[in-house]
Symmetry: C2
Subunit: 442 residues, 2 copies
């Protein structure tokens, strides 16, 4: 440990985190990976410092329900401080980390710089527009709660605007919703839009012909949910068709100017394009190089250590672990993040005790997606099924995975009421969304 | 009906509301008064047009719980379209009415102008800063859901900032919260702050000395909740004292510069001053005059008709009805709005049928305020009580008054969980609040 750095850190005590006689683990990100590391390390003779841009953990798998008025944001968010209530040697700070200085084992943030003994980058993923500036500017991402709320506002504002215009082209554009990306987020979002169209909006807008509302799902591949089984893909497409969603396969979006989506095949007029077609690692400046970053993620060894760097680990979506059994890396899903987080916590304890860390191996517990009421697909390692029971399983798994008793109860209450009422009640424009505004969306 | 105006309205069909052979009632505002008029008029051979700045009704009596992390905003808001699902001849539009043109029986809005046969102004009240520009600029109002969310964010941001600063004066300012106004909003808010300080924040901020947090309630009069009984005032003060809130009587705020509140008596250093000390009618330009506006409200006769104008009514907070039995007018509370709304709906039906309208008379059902867990005061006409049972009554009344089964269930779930956990779980900074920002707060 370079003593001079430690001193310079002391002279910049902006974060007000005490120097104690324990190794300091700094975790950047309170997502699934970060939480699981901190939970499993707390009370184990480490000083844990968690930094996140927000003061809450987001249960990302249900973001699409926030965007489609099914759940309030507060039931899928959980205050990080509350999760770590009464944990000793745990420090949380809201900070947007600007840079990592590996040579001085220091991270640089607007609220001050901090020295680490171990650094864990668990920043997750962010929307990838593949360099298309128009798409970034005009489309709606859905990776955070503010983004999901913006989308909810925009959908409702579009229908209100459709009521008011007498320009028939404009009205149709406002009533067309284009979702790009046939992965779980795109499919679940499209299903929820289909349900809104079928059950909710005709009652809300008697003076608007909701039959003219179109929900398009654009998929580059020749099937939906490509990592899942062919059966799941087929069933998902069938369910979406039943809900009136138009799915376009083998279709690649070229551009979007805020009014027209152009693809390799045809074009779509819409004022709302939702982009779920790409993610990339949420990288932090300061550790560049072809050895460190591969495919937009930090290249890690089987212990989640970033190759070529000391005491810096990456976990979850932001990490790329190429192994003989999975040379392309594990999928960017919650289960990988959770399992890597738990394993890394164990490994750090082993290292502290002079034992050998264990290599990570992903245990695929299966995957699932819900398309709507009574409509879900589940692929377990030895059992693939769909329909009503799959939907129940999906609900149960997501309910028990939500953090906190209150959030579970609130989500359950919403789902039970929705089941019997065919309604999605959170159709509120709390903060109107202004298109193309320069302000950041967070 | 001046036919030429009707024509000019037709030539500006921006609102796309059809002209039919029914009298058109335009209601501005979807608060308690507006909702009750529309509910009681719908299906009664009127065309009803409701306009509101938001697409939801706000249950204002529980706003303070949103501001203090007790309830999610979505459980006290209800989409107006959902309330009037399947009602015939009901039209809702989001519109901020800019002007009323009584001569042409037309209202002017950014989404177009519209002719009315009967106009009902149910715009409620807004924060009154009594012309003090500093207070308007630096203090936090709490009359809308976005404002309550801003306050929630600011309180949490202040504590996060207090953690980071080493300037002890600055830290103390960040940990002092000053609430101005000893009416129900101020008292309930102060109580909720007291509970946060006592039960929630010490666990959240182990590295901050929460004992140094101060909650000040500044009241101009010599007792709290002045319209209620002396017993209620005394009990409220006692309860607040138990929760560690410092109440300052006979204290009038002179100014606030964002750091120091100056009063007639002493000064308070704080970076968060919440202003609940004044409301005024939310007036709309176009109907000025000393006969029309008295004390910042529309002067109405006992039928809620604005004096001197034809076919224009004002109801609820925005209306001032001076009667022999109550020469100062009824209080600006939900019950008056609800009762006036119902009565006006009946009167419009009577007028349509050629019958005589009935004069309004407020039936005071009592008033209540809650200070915290097991701590409330209730004044009924023949029974005044406080404590645990009052608190149960308060909860029951507010629960059944919330609109919609889902909202009732969500609020109940939250309250039950809070009762057993002593927690307030919605401690989320979804949209950070930026002080002194030029953007409007809505």
């Amino acid at each position: 440990m370079p003593q001079n750095t430690r001193k310079s850190d002391l002279s910049n005590p902006a974060m007000n985190i005490p120097e104690i006689n324990l190794k300091r683990v700094v975790i950047i990100g309170g997502g699934f990976a970060g939480l699981n590391i901190a939970k499993n390390l707390s009370g184990k003779d480490f000083q844990i410092v968690m930094l996140d841009k927000h003061n809450y953990h987001t249960f990302q798998p249900l973001l699409y329900q926030v965007a489609t008025a099914g759940l309030e944001p507060d039931s899928i968010a959980h205050a990080i401080r509350q999760i770590f209530t009464k944990k000793e040697n745990f420090y949380f700070r809201i900070a947007d980390v600007k840079e990592i200085d590996p040579e001085n084992k220091t991270i640089i943030t607007p609220i001050g710089n901090i020295f680490y003994d171990y650094l864990i980058i668990a920043t997750g993923s962010e929307t990838n527009y593949y360099g298309n500036e128009n798409i970034r500017k005009y489309s709606m991402p859905m990776k955070t709660i503010p983004e999901a709320l913006d989308l909810r506002s925009l959908v409702l504002q579009s229908l209100e605007a459709a009521l008011l215009t007498n320009d028939l082209d404009e009205r149709q554009r406002l009533m067309n919703f284009v979702i790009v990306g046939g992965g779980p987020t795109g499919v679940e979002l499209a299903g929820a839009f289909g349900e809104l169209k079928k059950h909710v909006l005709p009652n809300d807008y008697p003076d608007l012909d909701i039959r003219r509302m179109n929900v398009h799902l654009i998929q580059g591949a020749d099937r939906l949910l490509p990592p899942m089984s062919q059966n799941a893909s087929d069933k998902a497409a069938k369910y979406l068709d039943k809900l009136g969603v138009q799915v376009w396969f083998n279709t690649l979006v070229n551009d979007y100017d805020g009014k027209i989506v152009t693809t390799n095949d045809r074009s779509f007029e819409t004022s709302t394009m939702i982009w779920t077609a790409g993610v990339k690692g949420a990288l932090i400046p300061g550790m560049e190089g072809e050895d460190v970053i591969v495919g937009g993620r930090y290249l890690v060894d089987e212990f989640n250590k970033i190759k070529g760097l000391e005491d810096i680990y990456a976990v979850g979506d932001v990490a790329l672990m190429m192994t003989p059994y999975n040379p392309k890396g594990d999928p960017m899903v919650a289960q990988v993040a959770i399992q890597q987080g738990k394993q890394l916590a164990k490994n750090l304890m082993a290292i502290k005790e002079g034992k050998s860390p264990k290599p990570f191996k992903y245990k695929d517990k299966g995957s699932m997606a819900t398309i709507g009421r009574d409509k879900a697909v589940v692929d377990l390692p030895h059992w693939k099924f769909s329909g009503w029971f799959a939907w129940l399983v999906w609900m149960f798994i997501h309910l028990v995975s939500l953090i906190g008793f209150r959030n579970k109860m609130i989500a359950l209450t919403n789902w039970v009421v929705q089941y019997f009422s065919y309604n999605k009640s959170v159709r509120l424009i709390i903060r109107p969304y202004t298109k193309g505004e320069a302000a950041p969306r967070e």
